[in-house]
Symmetry: none
Subunit: 140 residues, 2 copies
DNA sequence: AGAAATTTGTCCGTATGTATC
DNA sequence: AGATACATACGGACAAATTTC
């Protein structure tokens, strides 16, 4: 059968319906949504259309999907869900190689190396710490 | 926004861009290029157009497509020399927080943290060392 | 430990309707 | 009118990750 699309596309209507269920608590945070196969049956839409609808919610960070497992409601602050976006701070400095680093880089202990450190904080609390070590600039 | 096409069709321009990424090594031989859905988003082109672009590269034997898997760069003759391609080794382990890490993460000294270490070697010699520290997972 | 079932990921081909060059 | 491109939608098939038995 053909596929006209007047006004609002189907996948948006389906996304709206699913979002509604999530916001009303019909599908609580952390809980898996029905599988795509069930949704295709319920909405009598093709799998591609269902997946498009879910993609909308994923874009909105309302749900997350894991391959082979399913799509679940993201356990965030249920109501306002204000995004505390992580902030990163970068520091670069020169350090002296300790025994471990010296062995890895095959340099003498105490040799200069460059350490770049990125601290990522989410609402004040340190979320992640990355340290990158490099040789001191040597030409290729 | 309408979609004019001056001279060169859109799908050719996209094919050129993708070919560029392959030749520069941004997408190395054997590696899957992004799925059609991602490319439609990135280039803001329709799926049909993306598929046309990939068809061009397939025609040129630059890539190959496997049903249900994806499209990957054919590991045939290399374009740009990549003789000494860096290799990475990843190790993940649990560590105890020293005073510095404890202060950053606001945990007690000795608390468990996860350290992920990536060592990148180029022809044997360590090129770069990355250490990523995280809290121990608690959710999910 | 291993096979089967479930579920998502991706591609294939096709189709309709609209819009622009 | 024809070529290009967009957005939407269908159904089918194979691949890969996870869960279940």
């Amino acid at each position: 059968m053909p596929t006209p699309h007047y006004g609002q596309p189907r996948y948006r209507a389906i996304a709206d319906e699913l979002r509604e269920r999530i916001e009303t608590g019909a599908i609580p945070p952390g809980v898996l949504l029905p599988p795509e196969s069930a949704l295709t049956a319920e909405f009598r839409a093709s799998r591609g259309t269902i997946r498009q609808a879910i993609a909308v919610l994923r874009e909105e960070r309302v749900v997350a999907t894991e391959h082979g497992r399913g799509t679940y409601v993201i356990p965030g602050r249920d109501t306002s869900a204000v995004d505390e976006e992580p902030e990163s701070e970068i520091r670069r400095r020169s350090i002296a190689a300790d025994t471990e680093l010296a062995a890895l880089f095959a340099v003498e202990v105490g040799s200069p190396l460059v350490e770049q450190q990125i601290v990522t904080r989410t609402s004040g609390a340190v979320e992640k710490l990355v340290r990158i070590y490099n040789r001191v600039q040597t030409k290729k």
